[in-house]
Subunit: 215 residues, 2 copies
């Protein structure tokens, strides 16, 4: 498959690198041409580097791996036409420092997943993986147990396709919980403040939640 | 011990009933004297019924089991003097319907736990148990696995006392995770939207999260 991964931060480079390892054609997209991090990544992995638009244009599946607060701007730069009908995997969280504290925006009455789906109604948005660190995203066996990830989205086929991709990353289908429509992106984005407190307490990010249920 | 449980809804009645069962002296507090739910509860369990102020006055430990959005009003009615120096266990969530959807308020930049601690600086507030259904609060064995609850609060001794109480409820100390100061009430309150989506998906509330970690 041909993937366009938007974002040259650690999340984009980690996801892109894993996708190359799995045998996919990957273009890592950045705001500007010739981004040094993207060029280094391309040299290291054998993937390609390009602009957001170049990454999205050549892709069958687009992955939003920029921060949640700049996701819409990155996707506009990628171009609505380059997203039409494509699965758009959103792994972002809208975290930023405000008054010296990490805050979410949007929160509670909206989410980045929903913002993206509204702005690009012809893209098939699936929110996933934002609940774990990027190392765990592509290597769930770093953490013991049958811990889980979630998918949220309005298009069942897109969620099935993303569930298969998660399987390639090492997440068996029975550890991928379908939360429903893209509205449920709110809940997984609002998991982040607890995740951050746990990370501070544990002293590392190699953890995840396993839901236990009576039936 | 003498407990004052504020709130005659299902959460207050369930927690109060369990505390009576454990041999504690419990007064279930309500806004008005002669609340029928409280009187029924008292007749059923052998506990006492009273006003918020009566419940708090006689108590060594006060439990806030009213909804998060009315917590401050209930505690004002209980009386600041009746909370002075006491452990105040807050199990509430600030959920309410807005525009036909469940929303949290406060959220992200504040929490009910923090609001209570600010309003009653001499109370020793511990946020806990709000992440599970009230049946699970008092009977964790309803759900299989080593799933966990959290404590948040600024007073380590108060958290130790609440951890002991959780032990009476059936939560071993190694399944009580200390998240830090009362500020961390934000994260556990923001867990609720995901919890609600999971409840809808599972079709019941007998579930909880177990954190799995590499080390």
């Amino acid at each position: 498959m041909r993937y366009g991964v938007l974002g040259t931060g650690v999340v984009g480079r980690t996801l892109g690198g894993k996708l190359v390892e799995l045998g996919h054609e990957v273009t890592l997209g950045s705001r500007t041409e010739g981004n040094p991090a993207a060029l280094d990544w391309a040299a290291d992995t054998g993937g390609a580097a390009g602009t957001f638009a170049e990454a999205a244009e050549s892709a069958e599946v687009v992955v939003n791996a920029v921060g949640g607060r700049v996701a819409l701007a990155a996707l506009e730069a990628a171009g609505a036409g380059n997203l039409d009908g494509k699965v758009l995997v959103d792994v972002s969280n809208p975290l930023a420092f405000e008054d010296g504290e990490l805050r979410l925006s949007p929160v509670d009455s909206d989410s980045v997943g929903e913002q993206i789906q509204r702005a690009f109604p012809r893209a098939r948005v699936v929110k996933t993986l934002n609940t774990v660190n990027c190392e765990v995203m592509v290597d769930p066996a770093r953490v013991p147990g049958d811990h889980q990830v979630f998918v949220s989205g309005d298009d069942p086929e897109a969620k099935a396709q993303v569930t298969a991709l998660l399987g390639e990353f090492g997440w068996p289908a029975d550890r991928v919980l379908d939360l429903g429509g893209i509205r449920s992106a709110r809940g997984v984005e609002m998991w982040l403040p607890l995740w951050l407190d746990l990370m501070r307490g544990f002293g590392h990010a190699d953890f995840n939640l396993e839901l236990r249920r009576a039936r």
